[in-house]
């Protein structure tokens, strides 16, 4: 039996090489993310730092942890998805050989054992490649994280001995799991199928395929509904799950759509022989075409869905920030210079706001004296009256008018996360001053975020102010020209003066920038992996499945060029299917996010990453087209007669 595997391996190496590489890349991605994650999670702040510095440092690492954690989850998910669809597909490709084994006396168990044995072998070889590849990838990934400021310079994830066991487990596990269902299906191959050529299975849409597809779509819909009642910050990770579930569901159900596209292609090229032929091929090869479309659905769904979600939420925060800001100008200056702004001519109101870093101690959760429940945060020191004139905000509880003396208000930043409510006491430390302040107001969360706490003027020790920066929201008197007032402020105070429009745009751009960094870390490798899977599917299909078909087409009068054109046209149709279904998954995701944003802020916007979409669509057509061109050319290099004859 193993000899059979070995010789099949020699014969159909593209088929197996593709499987090995999919396992290797998956293992590498998971291993790399996992090593970075454990190293980041066990990072210790260097000795000799103040409590605040330590808390801030740990907080900046803490941002890396969810980002890398989600990268890890995504890598694991994609590995399972791509490996299982690749393996299932390669089993389907070998139907005829398997039927032949049945004809010569093989029983179902032997077939399953053969396939599982092969999968184990491929999984192990893939892991053997994946482990060193993972180390290289880890260096790349941690460089990216350091470059984007998620991790401190000099961050070097270390090798852990146990990771080897994990990688082997993952490589072997996904390979076996991937082939398990397929091998059960292969066990049902009838011996008679050996006599019927290499045809596709009669029924691709089996009952279990329907079931799986429907379940995943239902999960996606349920998650969208759940997302309507959580904060946008919480909705974002949910949206990722929506994309994944929708992409799996749609890939599973894609055999339903493939023939429809075949028909459309047939109509488009009604009078065109090659087009008609390609259309017939699209319809005939439902399984292989669905297999090529699956990674594309995932790729487009993830990229467009998540970038669209991000763009939409940035657009929403830009709009709401604009809506909520009542000032005309925003001045950024050193904190100890800002007190001169209210005195400038034609300034009606100036809300001087200084952000100060602090350490919060959550007494209720405190476990050890050395700050188990300490976290860094930031407070904005404001004059509540000026603040209310500069911002159109209404507390959801309490009143900002009471923010005087010894009091604190929960800001829009993390008010939900901190677990406080009105009347509670917050223990905090600013500079060297310990404070215990009652909460007098709670501000609503906003798409654009903000400080964790609002503090009344005069509460922060003078020592922290000189180093801080103030933002002053200036309203001009009626009739005054804001630009002229801005010039006046510029001469009076060192700093920059922006119109509110410009300032809002800067904020939005900064937010966009942060999000793009996060998504680059999250999706960069994953997208390349999905793209690789699509290329692999095209290569495997052409190499393993279609040689004799191409040869037959040439023998019936097609030129080599026509055969190649037919193959490319078919692949591009499948690409279109992948992009469209991926677009459907992305649309669900983006609309789900729009609902969550609208519920929170009253602003429902959809902003699409057109540049990314354009690049993605063009790139997908180009890459798949070129791959298909190249494989079809090399598959038709030999004289057709040597390929049509048996075997």
């Amino acid at each position: 039996m193993l000899r059979l595997s070995a010789s099949t391996f020699r014969e159909q190496w593209q088929l197996f090489l593709g499987s090995i590489l999919t396992v290797a890349i998956g293992v590498a991605l998971v291993q790399s993310s996992l090593l970075i994650l454990v190293t980041a999670a066990t990072l210790e702040a260097p000795a000799g730092l103040s409590t605040l510095e330590r808390a801030q440092l740990m907080d900046s690492y803490a941002l890396a942890i969810p980002v890398v954690g989600i990268t890890l989850a995504l890598a694991l998910f994609l590995t399972i998805f791509i490996v299982s669809s690749t393996f299932a597909f390669t089993v389907a490709q070998r139907r005829r050989d398997l039927a032949l084994l049945r004809l010569t006396g093989g029983n179902r168990k032997q077939l399953r054992k053969l396939l599982l044995g092969e999968a184990a072998l491929l999984g192990l070889v893939g892991t053997a490649l994946g482990v060193p590849l993972g180390l290289a990838l880890m260096r790349l990934q941690s460089q990216l994280l350091v470059m984007f400021g998620f991790l401190p310079a000099g961050f070097r994830p270390g090798w852990q001995h146990w990771i080897f066991a994990v990688s082997v487990g993952i490589g072997l596990g996904v390979a076996l799991a991937g082939v398990l269902a397929a091998s059960r299906r292969a066990g049902r191959v009838r011996p008679l199928d050996a006599l019927r050529g290499t045809g596709d299975e009669a029924r691709v849409m089996t009952a279990s395929r329907w079931f799986v597809g429907m379940v995943f779509l239902a999960v996606a819909v349920a998650l969208i509904i759940v997302a309507q009642s959580v904060d946008p910050s919480g909705a974002m990770p949910l949206m990722m799950l929506v994309t994944l579930a929708a992409a799996v569901g749609l890939s599973t159900l894609s055999p339903l759509v493939v023939p429809v596209f075949g028909r459309v292609l047939g109509l488009l090229f009604r009078k065109h022989t090659i087009g008609t032929l390609a259309a017939a091929n699209v319809r005939d090869g439902v399984r292989r075409n669905a297999a090529t479309a699956a990674p594309l659905i995932m790729l487009v769904g993830l990229l467009v869905g998540l970038l669209g979600t991000s763009f939409s939420s940035t657009a929403a925060s830009e709009q709401t920030l604009h809506r909520d800001t009542a000032a005309d100008l925003v001045v950024t200056s050193p904190a100890d210079e800002a007190h001169r702004i209210p005195g400038v001519q034609a300034v009606a109101n100036a809300s001087v706001e200084v952000d100060v870093p602090l350490v919060m101690t959550n007494v209720e959760h405190e476990e050890d004296a050395l700050g188990g429940a300490m976290e860094s945060g930031n407070a904005r020191v404001v004059d509540p009256d000026d603040y209310l004139r500069a911002h159109r905000v209404q507390p959801v509880a309490g009143s900002l008018e009471q923010l005087h003396g010894q009091a604190v208000a929960l800001g829009p930043g993390r008010s939900g996360e901190l677990g406080y409510s009105i009347g509670d006491t917050v223990h905090l430390k600013i500079g060297d001053r310990q404070l215990q302040l009652p909460i007098v107001a709670v501000l609503p969360t906003t798409p654009y975020g903000g400080p964790d706490l609002l503090l009344p003027k005069g509460i922060a020790p003078e020592s922290v102010l000189p180093s801080a920066t103030a933002q002053t929201f200036v309203s001009t008197v009626q009739g005054a020209d804001p630009a002229a007032v801005g010039d006046n402020i510029r001469t009076a105070v060192p700093g920059t003066v922006d119109s509110v429009d410009a300032w809002v745009q800067q904020q939005a751009a900064a937010e966009q920038d942060t999000q793009l960094r996060i998504f680059t870390v999250l999706l960069g490798m994953a997208s390349l992996y999905a793209l690789f899977a699509a290329i692999n599917a095209v290569v495997v299909i052409t190499a393993a499945d279609r040689r004799s078909e191409f040869a037959a087409a040439r023998l019936s009068g097609l030129t080599r060029r026509q055969v190649v054109r037919m193959a490319v046209l078919e692949s591009e149709t499948v690409t279109a299917i992948g992009i469209l279904l991926g677009g459907v998954a992305a649309t669900g995701t983006i609309l789900g996010m729009r609902g969550a944003l609208e519920r929170m802020s009253g602003v429902g916007v959809v902003e699409l990453p057109w540049l990314a979409i354009g690049a993605l669509v063009a790139g997908a057509f180009l890459v798949v087209g070129l791959t298909s061109l190249w494989t079809a050319r090399s598959a038709t290099r030999m004289s057709p007669i040597s390929l049509v004859s048996d075997e």
């Binding site: 039996m1 000899r3 059979l4 010789s7 099949t8 020699r10 014969e11 159909q12 050989d97 032949l100 084994l101 049945r102 004809l103 010569t104 006396g105 093989g106 029983n107 179902r108 032997q110 009838r190 011996p191 008679l192 050996a194 006599l195 004859s645 048996d646 075997e647």
Partner: protein, 259 residues
């Protein structure tokens, strides 16, 4: 013309007293498709394929020959009727039972060879025994290949062999388990006349020296003439039966059927 014992009844009376037939079909019906467009590929076929005998099955294209062969070998389920292989009813046999039959009792040879392209000739030949869990020495496989005249080709892959050579590998594969019944569907269909002759001689030898039985579908009257008897099918029914056939006699009957 030397055609004798023409008998339109499906079952020749002479076989009634002989020992158990290799395969027996009783009122076998096989329908494809749904009610409206149903095709009766086999329409009530009853016959016995004698033990240690070679029966050829002939008939126009689409008359149900392959379906008959597949049903007799348990590859295709029947819509109604019974199929008995060496006395046991296989109509409702489980997959395990059918698998073990394929391993020990029956063998197949088809027009398009059906060798595994990635295995050498000798590996292809040894495959059924390996699947049966037996250890096979290369010697055994080579001996069988030698008996079909391919001693020097044992390490070649199918695509490096001629059509006739491939078919002989397929026969060697069927011979290695010494099946009681060999089912062959147009085994010489893709071969030139001299390759066909060597293949047919091999089959004749299996019947004469090892007492194996052969059921062979063919279009070629010359091939049918190697058999002990010929069944003629038309529209899923047995319409004629000839013993000790000759090529011209078979050709004449066939021509009559196809009119």
């Amino acid at each position: 013309m030397r055609m004798m014992n023409t008998d339109l009844r499906a079952e020749p009376a002479a076989t009634a007293t002989e020992n158990l037939p290799a395969v027996e079909l009783r009122g076998v019906r096989r329908t494809y498709g749904k009610h409206g467009t149903a095709v009766n590929a086999l329409d009530g076929v009853s016959t016995r394929f004698p033990d240690a005998g070679w029966t050829a099955v002939m008939g126009p294209s689409g008359s149900g020959k392959s379906t008959l062969l597949h049903a007799a070998a348990g590859l295709e389920s029947v819509t109604s009727g019974e199929v008995l292989l060496a006395g046991t009813d296989i109509t409702a046999a489980s997959d395990e039972e059918l698998t073990s039959l394929r391993r020990d009792t029956i063998g197949f040879v088809f027009q398009n060879f059906n060798l595994i392209g990635s295995l050498t000739a000798e590996q292809n030949v040894a495959l059924p025994l390996r699947l049966g869990g037996q250890r096979v020495s290369t010697r055994d496989a080579r001996d069988v290949l030698a008996s079909v005249g391919l001693a020097d080709r044992s390490r070649h892959r199918p695509r490096e062999l001629s059509g006739g050579q491939r078919q002989r590998v397929a026969i060697a594969r069927a011979m290695i388990t010494r099946p009681a019944v060999l089912f062959a569907d147009e085994p010489t269909g893709a071969l030139d006349s001299s390759s066909a002759k060597s293949v047919l001689a091999l089959l004749r030898d299996m019947v004469d020296t090892s007492g194996q039985s052969i059921v062979m579908v063919t279009h070629d009257p010359a091939a049918a003439a190697w058999a002990d008897s010929v069944l003629f099918l038309s529209d899923g029914r047995i319409v004629d039966h000839a013993h000790s056939p000759t090529a011209p006699g078979v050709a004449e009957r066939l021509a009559a059927l196809e009119v």
